[in-house]
């Protein structure tokens, strides 16, 4: 019977109080610059989409090159370019024609900024808000501003939840030495879930003929296949520690097997970014098909049957 089940019924996923048609979620910073792109991704079949992170003031970001593919993955230092809160609120004022839930991504350098973005986002039709505390290459934010401590997470969560009732996801760094403390802080601070992981960094690649780092900013974060083991490991550890917290496992998912791998590690949603480079924008449909095919071949009728399956019993 299972073998004829439709893709949607196989992949249906409950997350932040919504039912997604697929666990595959566009990760923040990839394509999420305009509503028209979100709309296209929704039509292709993304389970949900995350917008590119928004700060109060507009940011031009780092000079180019900002995104490069180097073989084992991509390295990027976009530097949180974004049009600022005001323009973002105009862009995302009406999300009714985006076919899937939209996640707002919120960044700030200090308390007032977090509060301001959270308050404005609260009025938009975002299904959830994601807070990256983990960017390895933007001064003032994430790791470079030591937002990746349990104290900072508690503070940010308390500010943000003072402004909005939307479900909050903390986006944690890869290979974090203090991951369990960050998860505890997220949990205590009332986060609805965890996104694991951001790019790993700081990373640098040098063009030896130019005698210069390739990236305009010098350092950046690594995504894609190189990152997958760190995403799987973080997802596994978080799920082991806090099984009640849904996880958007993110990092290096390039095909259906990778997505199932993160779900077996304990993820509920599966974030994808770099896959768009290798598999095209249709990745959200193609990889969903691959997942469904594996599930049919293995007589799985629902992702809940295999979620966390890799955990030692």
């Amino acid at each position: 019977m299972t073998s004829s089940q439709s893709r949607d019924s196989l992949l249906r996923t409950d997350l932040f109080g919504r039912t997604l048609t697929s666990p595959l979620i566009l990760a923040s910073g990839i394509l999420g610059t305009t509503k028209s792109l979100l709309k296209r991704l929704g039509e292709i079949g993304a389970g949900a989409v995350t917008i590119k992170s928004i700060s109060v003031a507009p940011r031009a970001g780092h000079p180019n090159p900002t995104v490069l593919s180097f073989g084992p993955g991509m390295i990027n230092a976009v530097g949180y370019s974004n049009p600022g809160l005001k323009k973002a609120c105009e862009e995302y004022a009406d999300l009714s024609d985006v076919a899937c839930p939209v996640i707002g991504s919120l960044i700030g350098t200090k308390a007032e900024e977090f509060a301001q973005v959270a308050a404005a986002f609260s009025l938009l039709d975002f299904a959830a808000i994601e807070i990256p505390i983990s960017c390895p290459h933007t001064p003032g934010y994430g790791k470079l501003a030591r937002q990746d401590t349990p104290e900072a997470v508690l503070e940010i969560l308390s500010i943000v939840s003072g402004e909005t009732d939307k479900p909050l996801f903390i986006k944690v760094p890869a290979a974090a030495q203090n991951l369990s403390e960050l998860v505890d802080a997220s949990d205590q601070g009332g986060a609805a879930g965890i996104t694991a992981v951001n790019t790993i960094g700081p990373g640098m690649l040098i063009n030896i003929d130019a005698r210069r780092p390739y990236l305009g900013f010098g350092i950046g974060g690594v995504s894609g296949p190189a990152l997958k083991p760190l995403a799987v490991s973080a997802t596994y550890a978080i799920n082991e520690q806090a099984p009640h917290l849904p996880i958007i496992g993110t990092g290096g998912v390039m095909n259906g097997r990778d997505a199932i791998e993160l779900i077996m590690a304990g993820a509920t949603g599966v974030g994808m970014g770099t896959a768009v480079l290798d598999r095209g924008i249709e990745a959200f449909a193609v990889i969903a098909d691959e997942m469904a095919e594996w599930m049919r071949d293995n007589d799985i009728s629902n992702l809940n049957e295999i979620r966390g399956a890799a955990h030692a019993k």
Partner: protein, 259 residues
């Protein structure tokens, strides 16, 4: 995944066009189809997209034709023989080349259609600049019709002026165009009215050039991989063409509207 890092390549030759522009021949063996572009990197400065204006597969060279508009383009246009520039690409969805065509370009848009003009030397080629000092590639394409706004060279007026007439007379299969978006919008409407297909090469601010960053979005398409060449009918149906594009920060910048 592919390794797609910029490679430092030597400038082999340099041709200047007045004070405004230069063509650079660069050692960079690659596969190329007309309409594609590369990313040119000046280490420590910036990296921007430029059309390949000529491809010599035997010599393993490409040519860029660069107009000085700001610091990056000026830096590239100033490179001299022996200097090196970082190149990655080619990228983008090319023109679909058909011999029965008309080619219309404005300003440095000429760079993008030059390989088509070489491929189809008998097709009418219309090219416009503000004035005679800006004219490029005239030696390479002696038969192209040059238009200047001030009449200082060629015919006075816009390259789009004779287009309706040419379309009516020749009924070509397709019009190729690259240039200022107001000009291309005009081409698109002329094509629409004449019932001729148009292929339009767009420019948007680009960062990744590989379809990932969302910087070059228009109407939900990515100019870097879904374009830069689009069907004119498709563009007329959307709302961003000749209307707006994202700047570096991702803010919409509204274009001068076509008159």
């Amino acid at each position: 995944m592919r390794n797609d890092l910029p490679v430092m390549c030597s400038i082999l030759k340099r041709v200047e066009y007045g004070a405004t522009a230069a063509s650079l021949t660069i050692q960079y063996p690659c596969q190329f189809q007309p309409g594609q572009f590369i990313m040119a990197w000046i280490p420590g400065v910036d990296e921007k997209p430029f059309s390949i204006s000529r491809h010599n597969p035997t010599a393993g060279t490409i040519e860029l034709t660069v107009k000085r508009l700001g610091p990056v383009s000026a830096h590239i246009a100033d490179l001299t023989v022996g200097d090196r520039v970082g190149i990655r690409g080619p990228y983008g969805n090319p023109f679909n080349p058909q011999a029965d065509c008309v080619i219309v370009s404005g300003g440095v848009g000429l760079a993008a259609v030059a390989p088509l003009m070489e491929m189809f030397p008998n097709a009418p080629a219309l090219y416009g600049e503000n004035s005679s000092t800006q004219i490029m590639l005239a030696d390479r394409f002696p038969r192209m019709r040059i238009f200047t706004m001030d009449g200082s060279a060629g015919e006075k007026g816009f390259p789009t002026d004779p287009l309706p007439e040419i379309l009516a007379a020749r009924k070509p299969k397709v019009v190729y165009t690259c240039g200022p978006e107001v000009m291309m919008a005009k081409v698109a409407r002329i094509c629409h009215d004449a019932g001729v297909a148009g292929q339009i090469s767009l420019e948007r601010y680009m960062k990744c050039a590989v379809g990932v960053c969302g910087q070059c979005c228009m109407d939900g398409e990515r100019v870097c991989v879904d374009g830069p060449v689009f069907d004119s009918e498709r563009l007329l149906k959307g709302k961003d063409f000749a209307f707006r594009g994202l700047d570096k920060s991702g803010t919409w910048v509204y274009k001068a509207q076509p008159e």
